[in-house]
Amino acid sequence: MYEFEYVRPKSVAEAAGFLAANSDARLMSGGMTLLPTMKQRLAQASHLVHVGPLGELKSITREGDALVIGSAATHDQVQGSEVVGAAIPALAKLARGIGDPQVRYMGTIGGSIANNDPAADYPAGVLGLGATVVTHLRQIAADDYFQGLFTTALGEGEIVTAVRFPVPRRAGYVKFAHPATGYAMSGVFVAETGSGVRVAVTGAGNGVFRWAEAEAALAKSMSPKALDGLALDASHFSEDIHATREYRAQLCRVMAARAVNELLG
């Protein structure tokens, strides 16, 4: 790793001030993506501003019709949280399926959605549930937040503080995990929300996206059969040594049907 200075701010406000004054400083939450990238010298920073331990970013609460998860809540916290389990069990399941126990102890929801890896799980949950990303400056709707491959609506030095999930009627998430890394080769989040059915796909292509045809079909009939023969543009999908475009598209159909079954319970 290149040299850097480690900074442990006492509050989000202090972290924001530090980032504003040091343009080459970077946030660290769980470090489970950032540190491996820095070890490979694919990333560099003058300072690592460690917000992961901040208590104000770790809370998980139910606020009326919403579940609010602090950005530094770890995957382990979310998988085991009774509040999450009662409000959105599909989200607890999603967290339980990320990486491995050691990674889940450290990795956080804020770090995951700030990174926006095209194969990460949380982007599917956040987009599929129509959540709102809360930063220290503003609130961003999931539909505007994710902007393709490792790209988000976050500005320079903007800190994700929480994600606000409207509690759905029912939801389901199923991924086909890459056998070596655990990342989604294809993962589908289906939610029946107050404002209609939402279907978000991760692991498939350039970044998480909504499958409009599936949303329309499931709104008419919430059953795996409703997905039969639906249009799904294979050009959304990436192709690599693990899978062709067509194979990924097929996986996506199968995962979507399983997610519907899970939603139906």
Binding site: E3, Y6, G31, M32, L35, D100, P101, Q102, Y105, G182
Partner: protein
């Protein structure tokens, strides 16, 4: 440079480290505790797993400064003199290792797994050891070792 203070295998340790020092390098190079292994560059293999305040973490993906103040246990801190820790005893009895490269990390991960699930099911064992890769055993004897360790620990 930063000053860090840790409790390492029960002993108080303080040291000056570069901020970029990984915990695993601090353990192996500065403290000469070479039982903790490095098996990959990608946070995947788990050979470097140690206990930080009782939780199994990958020491190759933690900064030493980040864990200042914590209690760290490495494989060297498991046995009580000549008496093996029950998890070590179980791996030995059940032939839960071949080359032994993954074993220190496995033992630490299993210790945390049994803290969370004292009587784990097969599913809990397999899911709980997803962060530890073994290229020798095929895992069958590792699963047996976890069950044996659970019995040994229940027997006290």
């Amino acid at each position: 440079m930063s000053r860090i203070e840790l409790t390492l295998n029960g002993k108080a340790v303080s040291a000056d480290v570069e901020d970029r020092t990984l915990l695993v390098n601090f353990l192996r190079d500065a403290q000469q505790l070479t039982g903790t292994h490095v098996g990959c560059d990608t946070t995947q293999c788990g050979a470097c797993t140690v206990l930080v305040d009782g939780r199994a973490l990958k020491s190759c993906t933690l900064l030493a400064v980040q864990v200042s103040g914590a209690k760290i246990t490495t494989i060297e801190g498991m046995a009580n003199g000549e008496v093996l820790h029950p998890v070590q005893q179980a791996f030995s009895e059940c032939h839960g290792l071949q080359c032994g490269y993954c074993t220190p990390g496995m033992v630490m991960a299993v210790t945390d797994l049994l803290r969370r699930h004292p009587k784990p099911t097969d599913e809990q064992i397999l899911h709980g050891l997803e962060g530890n890769i073994c290229r020798c055993t095929g895992y069958i004897n590792i699963v047996k070792s976890v069950k044996r360790a659970s019995e040994l620990m229940a027997a006290g």
